[in-house]
């Protein structure tokens, strides 16, 4: 709760700071804001704070919520340094960008703390509205305009679907509150509660859209491609983490008792997402579009833990979200520097980067290895934990599919590594500022720490 209040206030303060003559000071100030919010979130660790009564609980700040809020704020903190080119270029709207990021974090925290479907809905909306705007923040760019418009129209449509689902759930149970829905769902005879199941299906479809899982993934490549890189990295890490945590919370807190009812749907979505995400990524020539498909496939991996749905799932999702976020931010960070300098998001832009910028190439290599799930990186243990959660439910065939798809993943993740080290340089050295270098190195260190000492993060919940 403290972090929500702080982030809202900081967002407003930041809007006023935008009146200052120089925009350069905004970046350090916002980083301090985020650090304070992170501290406020972590302070709640180990205690259960319930807000707004026993009967009408609106949000629960438990360890689950604290952990996922921290992952989101930390990701935002790691993304910010790459916006330095905006600050140096005195971008006229920088204060608004940062404020929208802070507001969307408020929505993200609501999505992991909600105990009431109304809070879930508001959280999703706050997060999405900020993202619709940031997707179109490059006003003169047609691709950015298209991304914003597409995301907004599709998002508004799926918001309608979620609301319809919530209305049906209210009709079936008479409440928005998760514990009451859970009790009502368990009391009903399985298969004889069409209103409840229809509501669940529609809410599920809506959240699936928000995490970008197949078959509701069609917006992802275009939107991720057109959005300015820095906000793409925010979408594919913070928004995805919030979405998947909200998804898990919905299934566990409200529908844990009717596992058999939603299992077939969720497992079908998982397999479809894994296949479409990975196979789709192979065909791309643009690195940024490949990362968009890769984010679809990682939503699929995360959903393996949802289908497994046992006591290992929470920890597996948390670890994987963190490992995925760290590696993805590093990849997008390098992409931002390369595309700013060479004017292209394609694989060819990375040619010879190993010679001109050994550090950037190394960071990108570690990020790709982590995303592919190679040992000694965080991604390996992330996948291991997800698969062991699935193994406990005896879902061997699902693991086989996932491992096969990881093998496909190695192909397209290694294409950029090959381009960086085995092709001749097409251009000059890419300029990198010191703050960015420091951030990239910390991301690599964090990835390797997660790969060598996974125990530090694995048993938190």
């Amino acid at each position: 709760m403290t972090s929500i209040i702080l982030l809202s206030i900081f967002g407003i303060v930041n809007l006023f700071l935008g009146f200052m003559k120089s925009k350069r000071v905004l970046l350090p100030i916002v980083m301090v804001f985020l650090a304070v919010a992170l501290a406020a979130a972590v302070r709640d660790w180990g205690q259960l704070n319930t807000y707004f009564g026993n009967f009408n609980t609106m949000m629960n700040m438990d360890n689950f919520a604290v952990a996922f809020s921290s992952v989101m704020i930390l990701s935002a903190l790691f993304i910010l340094p790459f916006s330095r080119s905006y600050a140096v270029g005195e971008n006229a709207n920088l204060a608004e960008y940062y404020s929208l990021l802070l507001f969307s974090l408020v929505g993200g925290i609501m999505m992991v703390t909600y105990e009431n479907l109304l809070m879930l809905f508001l959280g999703i909306e706050i997060m999405s509205v900020s993202m619709y705007i940031l997707a179109g923040s490059d006003k003169r760019n047609v691709l950015s305009n298209e991304a914003s418009m597409k995301y907004f129209l599709m998002g508004a449509f799926f918001t309608g679907i979620i609301l319809f689902g919530i209305a049906l759930l209210y009709g079936a149970t008479g409440s928005f509150s998760l514990p009451i829905i859970s009790a009502a769902a368990q009391a009903l005879e399985p298969g004889t509660a069409p209103l409840l199941l229809m509501g669940l299906l529609l809410v599920l479809v809506g959240i699936t859209f928000k995490v970008g899982a197949a078959p509701f993934h069609f917006w992802t490549p275009d939107v991720y491609d057109g959005t300015p890189t820095i906000f793409t990295s925010y979408m594919s890490t913070v928004v995805k983490t919030a979405g998947i945590a909200a998804f898990y919370k919905l299934l566990s807190a409200a529908f844990g008792g009717v596992y058999e009812q939603w299992f077939p749907t969720v497992v079908a979505i998982t397999v479809l997402t894994l296949v479409i995400g990975n196979v789709g990524a192979v065909a791309q020539t643009s690195f940024k579009r490949m990362l968009a498909y890769s984010s679809i496939s990682h939503a699929g991996y995360l959903m393996i833990a949802l289908t497994a749905f046992n006591e290992r799932s929470e920890n597996a999702i948390l670890f994987y979200s963190l490992a995925y976020a760290v590696a993805t931010i590093a990849a997008f960070g390098v992409l931002k520097y390369v595309s700013d300098a060479r004017g292209s998001n394609d694989y060819e832009a990375f040619s010879g980067l190993g010679r001109t910028n050994p550090l950037l190439a190394f960071v990108m290599t570690v990020a790709m290895l982590s995303l592919a799930g190679i040992p000694l990186t965080g991604g390996f243990f992330g996948k291991l934990f997800l698969f062991s959660a699935a193994l406990e439910q005896d879902m061997v065939w699902l693991i086989v599919v996932a491992v096969l798809m990881s093998a496909v993943g190695i192909y397209y993740y290694f294409r950029v590594i090959i381009a960086m080290y085995l092709r001749d340089a097409v251009a000059e050295r890419v300029p990198v500022d010191s703050l960015g270098t420091f951030t990239l190195i910390s991301l690599v260190v964090l990835t390797v720490i997660m790969g060598v000492l996974p125990g530090l993060f694995s048993g938190l919940l």
Binding site: L100, E125, G136, P194
Partner: protein
């Protein structure tokens, strides 16, 4: 009596909603939409939700529809300038929408919607007093947090609409 009014309003809603989608002229679409909202307002009154009915009447039928008409006027849309979807995508949309309809009808046809009990029915439930109490007591937190949503939307709208340095107004 109430049942007959319900069926009439439901028919009117569906008829007007189909009219919104089917009419070629955007101005007709908007007028059909006003009719849809009007019929919905009638449903709210039947549900004893007078406040929601009034708000729906003023905000949706009044303010938002005027906004719609203004936008259509500014865009100067006509039948011949409107882009038409290829036939294939129309068929595909009709099939997938139809499948969803079949599934929902099949799943929801047996639902026991539950009646109301005339003895302990609170006729004041949709009035402003009760609504205010629910809003400011039970749902205070979401109510307050909705302000963040509006703030974000407002800041974004200003940011997107603001003139950049060196840009000229085209209107």
């Amino acid at each position: 009596m109430t049942g007959n009014i319900f069926y009439f309003l439901a028919f009117l809603t569906l008829f007007a909603a189909i009219g919104v989608v089917a009419s070629k002229n955007p101005v007709y679409s908007v007028l059909f939409m006003i009719l849809t909202f009007f019929a919905l307002t009638g449903q709210y009154i039947l549900l004893n939700a007078q406040f929601v009915a009034a708000v729906n009447f003023i905000v949706y039928m009044g303010a938002i529809m005027v906004l719609f008409l203004f936008v259509i006027m500014f865009l100067n849309m006509r039948e011949d300038t409107e882009q038409h979807k290829p036939l294939m995508s129309k068929i595909a949309a009709a099939i997938s929408g139809g499948i969803l309809l079949v599934i929902m009808v099949a799943a929801l046809k047996d639902v026991d919607a539950g009646g109301y009990n005339a003895e302990n029915f609170n006729s004041q439930i949709g009035l402003v007093e009760h609504l205010g109490q629910v809003l400011f007591r039970d749902y205070l937190l979401p109510f307050e947090l909705a302000s963040v949503l509006f703030l974000a939307a407002m800041a974004g709208a200003v940011m997107l609409g603001k003139r950049e340095p060196g840009e000229q107004n085209r209107f």
